[in-house]
């Protein structure tokens, strides 16, 4: 097995995440699209009810299958990583990058004497129960990071696809294909190997996986709120215009009418730090995936995008002084401050981004959008190249922002 203690290399980390590249449709308002499918293996207890040995068995089964080459494509191959082999900072980096969930990142790192790839029953003194790592891992496609599969999170498998801009259909089709590839065909079918496989795994020995499914309840998940399609479709939006014109509530009502949730991406309650919001389906049961997809991508999101653009036009027209004041204050703060908290960074970057969209600030949108990520704690430390305490992080954040927001 290839051990990976740093899944995202320093250059990739510093460049930012591909899904923040601002290359997708409606990227001025829609930051990114995400599809997540929850699946469990048939005939096995879900992770919460499994023993350590059972989870280890599921992990090995999934590893052999996911790393057999069936998900590799030209220019992209899957990398496998046991969560417990990663340092806490590396795990935070992956959470910030949306490749694994916060829950998946929890769990104790290995004690120094136990090799990363050891099964619990290794040579010599077996580790005690307290030091046995919880079997959890993930596979991620590199270098594009568009597909990630978590193993032994709340469900055995969580397949996720991320795309920049409004690309929910493409993300869904990609996740759907990966789901079919992971499942294979009938049991005993040989998975076709496209690229090179991990050493020790012969593609022809990798059969398909059987999913837990019921014709009444659909794909069976640990939490009943995910049962059915097991599909969570979500879109991240940047809505500073609607906040400044006081119209966010209008958007929330429109979303609710279609049983879609509109929530602040960072921060709780109605406050959305950085004016970042997420629209996602509440229900996964009773409706086909493509109908829900259509509702989000073709019915609600175009309306929200239009509302936001109208709000920005109003601000740039009738309320120009307010817009300029907000944008130039934010820019001035980030260009001058010597200590910046993560919240201040997001709040002010949001206004700078609005300034770019309304023609007030001559900076590149994608560069500023990546700063939403690079100013977060783990990414910041990776940019600087060492671990920093909170005070040093505030200094480093301020330095990074001044460097990146200087207008030539």
């Amino acid at each position: 097995m290839i051990e990976r203690h740093q899944i995202i290399g320093p250059e990739a980390a510093v460049r930012g995440a591909p899904w923040l590249a601002g290359t997708g449709r409606d990227a001025d308002v829609v930051i990114s699209s995400r599809v997540r499918l929850a699946r469990n293996l048939a005939g096995r207890a879900f992770p919460v009810r499994s023993t350590l040995a059972q989870r280890a068995e599921v992990l090995e089964l999934c590893r052999a299958h996911l790393m057999s080459g069936l998900l590799d494509q030209p220019g992209r191959r899957m990398a496998w990583c046991d969560v417990h082999a990663l340092a806490p900072l590396e795990r935070s980096l992956l959470v910030e990058r949306h490749l694994i969930s916060k829950e998946h990142a929890k769990g104790k790192p290995l004690p120094a004497t136990v090799p990363a790839s050891a099964a619990p029953a290794g040579a010599g003194t077996p580790p005690s129960a307290e030091t046995l790592p919880d079997p959890r891992a993930f596979a991620v496609s590199l270098p594009d990071e568009s597909l990630s599969v978590m193993v032994n999170e709340e469900d055995h498998l969580r397949i996720q696809v991320l795309r920049s801009g409004l690309a929910l259909t493409e993300a869904f089709e990609s996740a759907d294909r990966a789901d079919d590839q992971i499942e294979g065909t009938l049991p005993g079918a040989r998975a076709a190997a496209i690229g090179s496989a991990e050493p020790g795994v012969t593609p022809s020995q990798a059969p398909g996986l059987c999913y837990a499914f019921s014709s009444r309840f659909g794909y069976l998940t640990a939490c009943p709120t995910n049962v059915g399609c097991g599909a969570r479709l979500s879109v991240m939006l940047h809505l500073p215009g609607l906040r400044l014109t006081g119209e966010i509530e209008k958007v929330k009502r429109a979303a609710k009418d279609l049983n879609l949730a509109l929530r602040g991406y960072y921060g709780e309650g109605s406050e959305a730090t950085g004016d970042l919001y997420q629209v996602s389906n509440q229900s996964t049961f009773g409706r086909p995936e493509r109908a829900v997809l259509h509702e989000i991508e073709r019915e609600i999101i175009p309306d929200i995008v239009r509302y936001e653009r109208d709000a920005r036009a109003t601000l740039a027209g009738k309320r120009r002084r307010l817009l300029e004041d907000q944008v130039y204050r934010a820019l001035a703060l980030l260009q001058s401050a010597r200590l910046v908290t993560p919240e201040e960074a997001l709040t002010n970057l949001s206004l700078v981004r609005l300034g770019i969209a309304t023609g007030l600030v001559p900076l590149v949108d994608a560069d500023v959008t990546q700063l939403f990520l690079l100013t977060q704690p783990a990414h910041l430390q990776r940019v600087v190249g060492r671990e920093l305490d909170q005070q040093r992080r505030r200094e480093a954040r301020a330095d990074l922002l001044r460097a990146r927001l200087t207008i030539q």
Partner: protein, 197 residues
Amino acid sequence: MKCDGCDRPATVHNLVIVKGHPTEQHLCELCAQKAGLQTGAIPVAQLLLHGLKSQSAAIAAGEPVKGPVPAAPPTCPRCGLSYGQFRHQGLLGCGGCYEAFAEQLGPLLDRAHEGATHHTGKIPRRIVATATSPAAGGSPSAAPGSITIDPADLARREAALRKQLEQAVAAEQFERAACLRDELRKLAALGEPGGTG
């Protein structure tokens, strides 16, 4: 389901009628308290179990019990999880729990998924392959772990899809209606052995 205001699970469900328009609120304890709502509200799952418990307690005390005597809360025969344990941790233990707790899960799913009773989305490929294989003829014994589709479920699936199709057409969402028609076509193919999966 998640709280309207944050990412915690929603345990307080409130129906507000403003100018004749009903609006549902789903909040966690904290947000409900902030909103000034009474938070002694008991989660739906607990309400169901409470009814069972109070009757069981009455039986144990030798009191006469009105109405039918309920069975003890079920336990999943495959993983041993009890319904009470599920209520406490919010997560099921295995696929078998869905059948074991089918009766209790019904109302929960109804609330969480807008009254849906049947899955109408994707079916795993191997099940489609089994169902449409001319050789197998839809036989459930084709492979270990494979499940066939109950014809009654197929019928309910079709009924649910037709209803959604009518709603989409009524709402003039013709593209969404087209998606639903595609699903109905796939369903028709599934019902015929040897048809395309």
